[in-house]
């Protein structure tokens, strides 16, 4: 395991040359700051709300990697006072879907910081997020000697065809994609790395029903008190050293956990899916996007009679998707 971890770190170290700084404001980072890491490609329309959401949550500095955007998103971010931006036009796939780039930035800038790693379409939710800033959570995690915090990916979708409502810059995507599947998730343990393997939700229900084992993983560990020795293995699904993956209790109790509301399914999705299909830069030869493209052609509605409408974190807690643990 140590060798594997070293290998991933070495990979990240090699890929560092692929990143060209556009605006490096990392000198502003203070020792107690909470950092956000993200890679993106052509997400200009989402970025303003993304920044707003996480600024309000209490993120102090954003470290973003742009993968050859051509929609103005890079220029927009470069002007933001709390964003450090790198750009690359190398292969997303060869950088293991951006993980190598972020691992490098994290080991460089994230050491001893709480680091949140999310995509621009993911919105982090944690217990009491409506009344306590994220520093409340990280202070509590520090006091409890917890180094990593899990947040399952929850696919959000609109009611009706996903291309029906137009998403405009600055809108809250959750106003459109406000529905989710509340209780059709499958969990297995990954014996190699100790993390969970969670699948389910609308993607598995509609696009992978004949091959459920291929359905995308929903387990994520996006919030970590980083140490330069740590490394994400695949996306934020799992990390090394393995102890960081034990974000679940095995003796009947519940650890505290959050949620990543995944707002991929907006009207922008169709264009994205066909673009990604042609680029083939995604996991398992873009298997996922192929399935979506096929599924969405006949039936672009992910909604079903049993879908739940999102209200707040307490609702997700009651439904058993996340937990307060012993944080009260």
């Amino acid at each position: 395991m140590r060798l594997r971890r070293k290998r991933w770190r070495w990979r990240a170290f090699r890929k560092r040359r692929q990143l060209t700084p556009v605006a490096n404001r990392t000198a502003q980072i203070r020792s107690s700051d909470i950092l956000l890491f993200s890679t993106f490609r052509n997400e200009d329309v989402r970025l303003p709300y993304f920044l707003k959401y996480y600024r309000e949550m209490g993120i102090d500095h954003f470290l973003m990697v742009d993968n050859a955007s051509d929609d103005g998103g890079r220029e927009y971010l470069a002007q933001q006072p709390d964003v450090s931006l790198w750009t690359t036009d190398h292969s997303y796939k060869r950088a293991r879907f951006g993980v190598d780039w972020l691992n490098w930035l994290q080991s460089r800038y994230g050491h001893k910081h709480w680091c949140l790693t999310v995509d621009p379409d993911e919105f982090f939710i944690y217990p009491f997020c409506d009344t306590r800033p994220i520093r409340g959570l990280t202070d509590w995690l520090d006091a409890s000697a917890i180094r990593s915090f899990s947040a399952m990916l929850l696919d959000m979708y609109p009611k009706g065809r996903i291309d029906e409502t137009l998403y405009r810059k600055g809108d809250n995507p959750l106003d459109i994609a406000s529905w989710f599947d509340s209780g059709n998730y499958s969990i297995y343990r990954n014996p190699t790395y100790g993390n969970l393997w969670i699948q389910g939700g609308p993607r598995s229900r509609l696009f992978f029903e004949d091959e459920p084992w291929r359905a995308p993983a929903l387990n994520k560990i996006p919030l970590v008190k980083w140490h330069r020795r740590y490394a994400y293995i695949s996306s934020t699904h799992m990390l090394l050293p393995r102890g960081l993956n034990l974000t679940y209790d095995e003796w009947g109790g519940e650890k505290a956990s959050g949620m990543l509301l995944h707002t991929k399914f907006l009207d922008t999705f169709g264009a994205k899916a066909s673009e990604e299909l042609s680029r083939s830069q995604h996991y398992a030869a873009s298997q996922e996007y192929k399935a979506y493209a096929a599924g969405l052609k006949d039936n672009p509605d992910l909604w079903c009679k049993w879908s739940e409408k999102y209200i707040n974190w307490r609702q997700l807690e009651i439904l058993g998707l996340m937990s307060k643990g012993n944080w009260a």
Partner: protein, 567 residues
Amino acid sequence: MTGTTGIVMLIHTAFDRAEQVLRHWHKGGCPVVVHVDRSVGHADYQAFVQAVRDLPHVRFSKRHRCEWGTWGIVAASISASELMLEAFPDVRHVFLASGSCMPLRPVKELVKYLRDRPRTDFIESATTADVPWTVGGLDEERFTLRFPFSWRKQRWMFDKWVEIQRRYNLRRSIPDGITPHMGSQWWCLTRQTLSAILQDPRRSVYDSYFSKVWIPDESYFQTLVRLYSQNVESRSLTLSKFDFQGKPHIFYDDHLQLLRRSDCFVARKIWPQANRLYDTFLSESGDAMNGTEPNPGKIDRIFAKATERRTRGRAGLYMQSRLPNENWENGFSSARYSVFEGFAELFEDFESWLARATGTRVHGHLFSPLRAEFDGRQDTYAGALSSNPQLRDYNARMFLTNLIWNTRGERQCFQFGPGDSQFVSWDMAKDPNAQISVISGAWAVPLFLSNRNFGDLRAEAAELQKVEAEHLHALRSPYAKARIRIWTLAEFVEAPMEALQTVIDEIGGVRLKRLTEAPRMVDLKGFGQFLQNLKNQGMHPYLMGDFPVERSPSNARTSRRKPYLVK
């Protein structure tokens, strides 16, 4: 003249908040002695001293290094208390607080409350045998073992050393005359009691003993107070709750109303950035609460619930932060459910009849190889569970637990049989929430009624019998915890309504009523011959019991059913 209540404040971090609280105490007329942890840098310390220089009744005591669980905190309290008693002769009660403590009621109320009880010592103090809240299994042993290693920094050595002492029975003796007591470290003692403790001729003995006790700040004063106090009120005036790891719960802005209604004098620990709490409680207009007694009941309940959530969790829930190992689930499923095996085969309209008779949700064969037959044969069901059989079988256990969890509050019934996928066979057998009723061998009825080649029927019958035998083996194993009833088909048709009545009664619970309507049984005329044919072909159908070839159960049935039809 200074006030009669002196505050000893132990500070190690969040100096801006500590200063705010200190000024609040001071403004309320209380002299304050501050102890700042020695691990705090000189510059920070000096800055803090300078910041409160304008306050006349503030003193700084000798600094000690305070590491959690060690003597330092007691040493700090002792130095500061000595200074308090010496520097402020008017002080009658000394109140121990920390920088993250916050007065919830006006300081005047606390002063008055204490003035009305001039001889009472408020200190939680209980013998070790009586306290359930010790962490790490060290209660009695706190006082009889030695702890030279740091728990935080040398955890491995700490544990090893405890282990060695246990194994070789290395004990230290407790000084004569004291009985170890424990309790919250936040106390409020009278000058009399406190000075008696501090001026005791044997104090050096006690000090050297307690300096090697584990977490002495929870036992030093708590033990010694028993020697001198005339009136111990064994509770802390400081609302301080600990979680299951023994670290204090923290209060945030959203606890405002809760804290307000608690009527407690002081609460800890407050999150330094809980601006609303600090603004509200430290503002001038602290609304008076008319001398009511503290009543932290609601807060207690909330924190007790949080601890339970963390240690026991919600039964039957499997999610990203709760995946119990086998047998640690405290309940495989979240609610009771009923499984019927063979009933739908024997009765033509069993599902709708059962739904009418019990008012529960009745599904078909949820584990059928073709699809999950949800009630009404919907494509999705509660929680957006899909009826797709591959999705279901990919994780059949979680399909079942998800279904039960998603439908909490409504009892679920479903059919099961040897023709279904058997992944959950053992799980259901072991689940105390399951009620399983089996008519063994009833799978032969559809075969009997079908219009297929006998050779195929024979092969299928053999297969089904094998699968069901295996399932029955699980139900009859010593691991089975479900409520299980098994009839052979022959037994069941003897007295079907009696059997149904027992099963239904168990589901209904409160609503005990006689069944007025019977489900329609299929016509079994010739079934005995069918079985005999199977036998003649060399297959041995045994799970259905003995069906005589000449018997005609359909006639017998009508006569038996009559009494139940009359209300």
